[in-house]
């Protein structure tokens, strides 16, 4: 008898466990014909990603659809493939994805498109066969070049610099780094040497240890460019902790709220970013335009993207894109106002 009771206990507990998880799910079952829009970001616990999801959700709410927000626990393509399968099974209308790998998601995303789901990438692109359109934060060429201009100005145009990136497969980061290298070919930067591109995988602890390793391997290092919000904050922390302010210059792309203390303390004189809420927001409206057939993802299409106004589709490389705009500069003058925003 006790054993049966025991068994019953086990089962109720499991019921309770899985049941309580289900309650906080609000996007289920309130279909109003406006469609279901899903976004998959790189990983959970990443503030930049959370802002993108926030913007996406805002756009979808304005449209009147259901937003499904997904973030894997690790920034891997494997985890994203599984989520794509789950979304196909849920018969969503559109999947917007910030890819952890440009090519590895292709079979999964093609399966989604074959099932009639519109697919777009945002932030970090997947290859052009895996998507219908890509939502780009800013012109990658400008992002790359601007950061070299910045570090050159900070270091007085000479010395060793290094890049602390996210994962080695992050398409956006790699494109910016390519443009940085192109910018460095100019004769005005002949005294600047790019010694290494390190990868912190967008994980805080790994970024910190990669940063420390850079300082050890290159004692003469003058500047760090970290085009990722996790990396630049980690670099700022290491420079602060080791008392290297002014000896090592730091710039890159970062979240104002996370970087405010380093910008205010002078560890990072200025940095750049766009508004991730806007990136997500634009992705939301792009998704709607795809689903309602306003655009097909072909060059020359245009649509109204809520408060962002008219956007048009252009061809970049082998695929098409919608661009948000130029990178925005954050410095000691404006950081106080922006850190409250995101």
């Amino acid at each position: 008898m006790k054993r049966i009771l025991n068994l019953f206990l086990v089962l109720t507990l499991i019921f309770a466990l899985t049941g309580c998880g289900g309650k906080d799910n609000s996007s289920e079952g309130n279909k109003d014909g406006k469609g279901k829009y899903a976004i998959i970001v790189k990983n959970a616990g990443n503030p930049y990603n959370e802002k993108e999801m926030e913007g996406f959700e805002k756009a979808i709410k304005e449209i009147g659809g259901d937003a499904i927000l997904k973030a894997p626990d690790q920034p891997t393509a494997e985890a994203q493939i599984q989520m794509i399968e789950e979304l196909i099974a849920q018969k969503v209308d559109c999947i917007a994805i910030a890819g952890n790998d440009p090519d590895a998601l292709q079979p999964a995303l093609q399966k989604a498109m074959n099932a009639g789901i519109k697919v777009l990438s945002l932030d970090s692109a997947v290859n052009s066969d895996s998507r219908m359109i890509h939502v780009n934060q800013a012109d990658p060429e400008r992002i790359g070049r601007v950061q070299i201009e910045a570090i050159s100005e900070m270091t007085g145009g000479k010395g060793q610099i290094a890049v602390l990136s996210a994962t080695s497969q992050a398409t956006n980061q790699n494109t910016w780094i390519e443009w940085m290298k192109k910018e460095l070919e100019k004769s005005e930067y002949k005294d600047i040497e790019l010694v290494k591109v390190a990868y912190g995988d967008d994980l805080r602890d790994k970024s910190v240890s990669e940063m420390e390793a850079l300082l050890k391997s290159y004692p003469q290092l003058n500047g760090i460019i970290s085009p990722t919000t996790v990396g630049i904050a980690a670099a700022g922390k290491v420079i602060t902790d080791k008392g290297l302010t002014d000896r090592i210059q730091l710039t890159g792309l970062g979240l104002p709220s996370e970087m405010a203390e380093y910008i205010e303390s002078g560890v990072c004189k200025w940095m750049y970013l766009w508004n991730p809420i806007d990136v997500g927001y634009l992705a939301g409206y792009t998704a709607e335009a795809l689903v309602t057939g306003k655009i097909t993802g072909a060059e020359g299409d245009s649509f109204e993207a809520g408060t962002l106004g008219d956007k048009s589709v252009i061809t970049v490389g082998e695929g098409t894109e919608v661009m948000l705009g130029d990178p925005y500069k954050f410095d000691a003058d404006n950081i106080a106002e922006w850190k409250e925003i995101y």
Binding site: K2, R3, N6, L7, V10, L11, L13, I14, F15, L17, T18, G19, G21, G22, N25, S27, E28, G29, A44, G45, I68, L69, K70, A71, P72, D73, Q74, T76, A77, E78, A79, I81, Q82, M83, E85, E86, I88, A89, Q90, K91, D101, D103, A104, Q106, P107, K111, T167, S168, Q169, Y199, D201
Partner: protein
């Protein structure tokens, strides 16, 4: 728990048959599926459910030999790195012009070699525990993978190769069929052959089995080699699903794999367990994850739920013992 393995005769009575761990797993499995079906209208759909198996079966191949290792009382945490190394070598060789089937054979050979090395070090240096040895090789294997590919991706596999991870035979995923065949082979090997009986003997008392003529070193090397080989099988299917490979693939697989085996009732203390339990728990964890994913539960909460389930699972034998004793004292009063 002991009696059902060591002495089969006591198991014949119906009550103890139904109070086996595996039955409890089946029950949990059914409950999970009922919950999933209630929470998501998309769950109970033959195609969906069958498709879902594709998302977790790649790592399941390693659970099968891992069961042997756990029965031995050992552990192998280098399997994820073995997956990475063998798939990276396969991709690089293919891109250097080697035909894909040969590259796949090399992949299997590399996996087997990795496993063999683990076993070889273990039997040559008996004072080292399996955790330490495989922890070291885990770092070494992944390190070599990073040296070969330098944190880049490699792929461009031939079209037919995609079939392995994404293809169907009728409506059944190819990977599911291959897995079932492997599961049957490993199940028979563990429970119906002299080899399997020796494994249990070694797990229960290694000294005794040595003196009764079991070649324990040879056994260990074979089992670890087999684990490496199955890791390479996982590598082949994973690379097919991903369409490319990187030195950091399959990170954390060792934990998933061990969790699946332990939830399946295969004690890491050695000498206990059944393959069927491990196989049920593969599907249990897989469908649980998938079901919770279908209702879009945040990833962190999903991890907590699986962690809780696992703790609960390993606690149950103890709970049963405690309650069982209570029952007996009641009766004697």
């Amino acid at each position: 728990m002991n009696k059902r393995i060591i002495d089969n005769k006591k198991d014949t009575n119906l009550k103890s048959f139904f109070f086996q761990w595996e039955w409890l797993l089946v029950l949990i499995f059914i409950v999970i599926n009922i919950i999933n079906a209630n929470l998501s209208p998309y769950y109970l759909n033959f195609n969906t459910i069958i498709d879902a198996t594709m998302t977790f079966l790649d790592k399941a191949f390693i659970v099968l030999p891992m069961a042997f290792i756990l029965v031995l009382g050992d552990i192998d945490i280098s399997v994820g790195s073995t997956v990475a190394l063998s798939s990276v070598i396969m991709a690089v060789l293919y891109n250097m012009g080697l035909p894909m089937p040969i590259a796949m054979l090399v992949c299997l050979a590399v996996g087997a070699l990795c496993g063999f090395l683990n076993g070889f070090i273990l039997v040559k240096f008996k004072e080292l525990s399996a955790v330490i040895v495989t922890l070291s090789t885990m770092i070494i294997y992944r390190g070599i993978a990073y040296i070969i590919l330098e944190n880049q991706a490699s792929g461009n596999f031939p079209k037919w190769y995609t079939y392995l991870g994404w293809g169907y035979v009728g409506k059944i995923p190819f990977i599911l069929i291959v897995f079932i065949i492997f599961a049957i082979i490993f199940g028979l090997l563990l429970h119906k052959t002299t080899f399997g009986r020796k494994v249990f003997a070694m797990g229960n008392n290694i000294t005794a089995s040595k003196f009764s003529g079991v070649k324990i070193d040879k056994m260990k090397i074979i089992i670890f080699t087999l684990t490496g080989l199955m890791s390479a099988v996982t590598a082949i299917f994973l690379a097919s699903r991903m369409g490319s490979t990187r030195p950091n693939v399959a990170t954390g697989y060792e934990l998933d794999v061990i969790a699946m085996a332990v939830l399946g009732g295969i004690s890491s203390a050695g000498g206990k367990g059944r393959m069927i339990g491990a196989v049920i728990s593969i599907f249990l964890i897989g469908f649980l994850r998938y079901g919770l994913g279908l209702i879009n539960i945040p990833a962190q909460i999903l991890l907590i739920i699986i962690g809780l389930l696992l703790i609960f699972a390993v606690m149950i034998p103890n709970l049963k013992k405690t309650f069982g004793r209570g029952l007996r004292t009641n009766v004697s009063k």
